[in-house]
């Protein structure tokens, strides 16, 4: 297992290195100007050239790239003297992105299993025309349209809830709370809501209560209770309005993709001889499903998920910039628009690390479940 993880990490580091190299060249060649360009309003061209020279902004690109890599190792992801956004600004977008990405994945994953779980084992090999068509419809909805359709409704619902429970933004200055505590509470509120939602879906559609989800929900609620007070909770709840809107749009994107993936994978597995044998031996539907189908779906699903991670990142950029959620996606959009190449490189680095982290986690989990992957 250690050998497997080492191989994955080394391969991922090479990928990140190549990716950043390509993006560094792309940004510096294709976007006009550099991170010093905004100073042209305050300085003469000569002064700007001198500053550019002293900061090494006129050096060949490969030198600047390696200098940037060295500074990343030294802990600064947006080096270069004048910075429109510094490393701290960029790092502060990681938590908001995770706040919407993890719940969206969780919600989409839970909902995407429903069409398969509601189908009889004997009919799993057939095409699920309705759910496939509906999923394709979900994928093809343009995010600004989703925002337009549900945005006003969301505002209305949240306003009703805020009015009913007298939730108003506290007059107390938020600076009294650290940004981390605020973000943590936001994350806990979002996760608890999503877990409650998924538990309700399980109860309504599958008539069962998942004990792990329930345990996780109680743990999160306890953590929220310990870490929060009424005033902070009010501010957090008001803040979560746009988070839930972003999650709704992002989940719509993911659900369509995940349902189609699940349907195709399960359909192919249900045609395999070992499933037919299990059915012929008279195993119950739940036994065949839980012991022979679900476990085998993880491999192809994990591979497909790993391959579609760049599309996930693309979805983040599209959805976050549509809803103005202050995550990595919308910041990347803004930095590119503002020609802030240093900050853009910082976000690319974080996005690459996030993608690779998710990919390695998926691979390790896959290897843990499937000995064939581990031994190869």
């Amino acid at each position: 297992m250690i050998k497997f993880i080492t191989r994955e990490v080394i391969s991922s580091l090479i990928s990140i290195f190549i990716f950043l190299f390509v993006m560094f060249y792309a940004i510096n060649i294709l976007i006009p100007g550099d991170f010093l360009t905004p100073l042209r309003l305050m300085m003469s061209q000569e002064e700007l050239d001198a500053l550019r020279e002293s900061l090494g902004a006129s050096d060949p690109l490969y030198q600047r790239y390696f200098r940037w890599i060295l500074s990343v190792f030294a802990g600064e992801i947006t080096p270069g003297g004048f910075m429109q956004r510094n490393g701290k600004d960029i790092m502060s977008t990681v938590f908001p992105t995770l706040q919407i990405l993890i719940p969206s994945f969780l919600l989409a994953f839970n909902l995407s299993k429903l069409p398969v779980l509601k189908t009889k084992i004997s009919k799993l090999y057939k095409n699920k025309i309705f759910s496939d068509t509906f999923s394709t419809f979900l994928i093809s909805i343009f995010p600004p349209i989703t925002l337009f359709v549900i945005g006003a409704k969301f505002d209305e619902w949240f306003q009703k809830i805020f009015d009913k429970f007298e939730i108003i933004k506290s007059p107390k200055n938020l600076i009294e709370y650290s940004e981390f505590i605020f973000n943590l509470n936001t994350f806990l509120v979002i996760m608890c809501t999503i877990l409650i939602l998924t538990l309700l879906i399980d109860i309504i559609f599958l008539f069962k209560i998942n004990k792990y989800k329930t345990l996780l929900l109680f743990t999160l609620l306890l953590t929220l209770f310990v870490n929060s007070d009424r005033i902070l909770l009010n501010d957090v709840l008001i803040h979560t309005k746009s988070a839930f809107l972003t999650i709704a749009i992002l989940s719509t994107f993911f659900i369509g993709e995940f349902v189609l993936m699940n349907n195709v994978i399960v359909q192919n597995i249900s045609r395999e001889p070992h499933i037919l044998t299990a059915r012929a031996l008279g195993f119950s539907n739940s036994k065949v499903f839980n012991d022979h189908i679900i476990k085998n779906t993880f491999g192809p699903f994990a591979i497909r998920l790993g391959l579609s991670l760049p599309f996930t990142i693309a979805s983040l950029v599209i959805v976050e910039s549509t809803t103005n959620w202050n995550g990595m996606g919308s910041l990347l959009y803004q930095t590119i628009m503002n020609q802030d190449s240093n900050a853009a490189m910082g976000i690319f680095l974080l996005l690459a690390v996030l993608t690779i982290f998710i990919r390695i986690t998926i691979s390790i989990f896959h290897a843990y479940l499937d000995p064939r992957v581990r031994l190869n």
Binding site: I18, T136, F137, I141, V264, F311, V317, L332
Partner: protein
């Protein structure tokens, strides 16, 4: 092989729906060319600079002269809707064939002919896979490349990134899996050259994988182009993203959104993305592709 693919996918429900959507899109494009060629006066029905001075104020509701009404800038919505299909068809076709060619050529030949180079290309491809095409479009749109970003060029970029990224990795892994098959060993024993084996024995088996991946990727390419056009990053081409932006932005300035401005491009996007995704699904179903 392509004929076989078309025949087998057409047999499924998904394939039929996909082809119907595709034919509809192509018909829209041809119909627009025909209407603008002689039936519609260009100064009124041009999808970009057309303006009907006999009607005021704009936007107007559907009428006999403008079947889907006019947008806030006085352009005919039906003309804009029909014209919007052409760039996406061009983008999709270029993206699909570029990606298919790259993934099949590199994915089947490199692992057999240049084994040392294969490792390098695999790592490069793993790096390229991280590059998100909408971000590339944003970068190009921010620079002085807005005029260069034609649908064909976007298709080329998207095809290259998808073909050399995800599709290449899938085709490569499948090729290496097939390389251990008995019929390949038999072919090698009979004196078959590596290039011959790669192109004659392995290529036909991996074509459905590449086709299904590139069709699915094309769907995301359409959405990425829509996103870029929504934010005005693709220059003055008739496109549905811009129509949606105009309907939402200018519509709200003029007292609410006009649904006859908003629904046609939304329907267009659905039709276009669904056509390629349904075709991708039909290939997956027919050839038992799980990943």
């Amino acid at each position: 092989m392509i004929k076989n693919l078309i025949q087998s996918t057409y047999k499924t429900y998904y394939g039929k729906v996909g082809y119907v959507c595709l034919i509809l899109l192509i018909s829209f494009s041809l119909l627009h060319n025909w209407l603008l060629g002689g039936v519609w006066p260009e100064n009124i029905y041009d999808p970009i600079v057309g303006f009907d001075i006999s009607v005021f104020p704009h936007p107007t509701t559907p009428s006999e002269t403008h079947f889907l009404g006019t947008d806030p800038l006085g352009r005919d919505v039906l003309s804009m809707f029909l014209a919007g299909s052409s760039p996406l068809i061009r983008l999709s076709i270029v993206s699909f064939f570029v990606g298919l060619t790259i993934s099949l050529f590199f994915g089947t030949t490199i692992p057999f002919l240049f084994k040392k180079l294969d490792r390098v290309i695999k790592e490069t491809s793993s790096g390229i896979i991280l590059i998100s095409p909408p971000v590339v479009l944003l970068i190009l749109g921010t620079g002085d490349f807005t005029d260069v970003l034609t649908p064909g060029m976007v298709g080329l970029i998207y095809g290259f990134l998808s073909g050399f990224g995800v599709a290449y990795l899938v085709v490569r892994s499948k090729s290496l899996e097939i390389a251990n098959s008995e019929f390949i060993k038999a072919s090698q024993l009979l004196g078959g050259k590596n290039y011959y084996i790669a192109t004659r024995h392995i290529l036909p088996v991996v074509v459905p994988y590449s086709v299904s991946y590139m069709l699915a990727s094309t769907t995301y390419g359409i959405l990425a182009y829509g996103f870029a056009s929504f934010f005005g990053q693709v220059g003055w081409t008739p496109n549905w993203g811009m129509m949606i932006y105009d309907a939402i932005t200018y519509g709200s300035y003029l007292g609410g959104v006009n649904y006859w401005n908003l629904l046609p491009p939304t329907f267009g996007f659905m039709l276009c993305t669904s056509s390629f995704y349904f075709l991708s699904l039909s290939v997956k179903k027919q050839y038992g592709i799980s990943i």
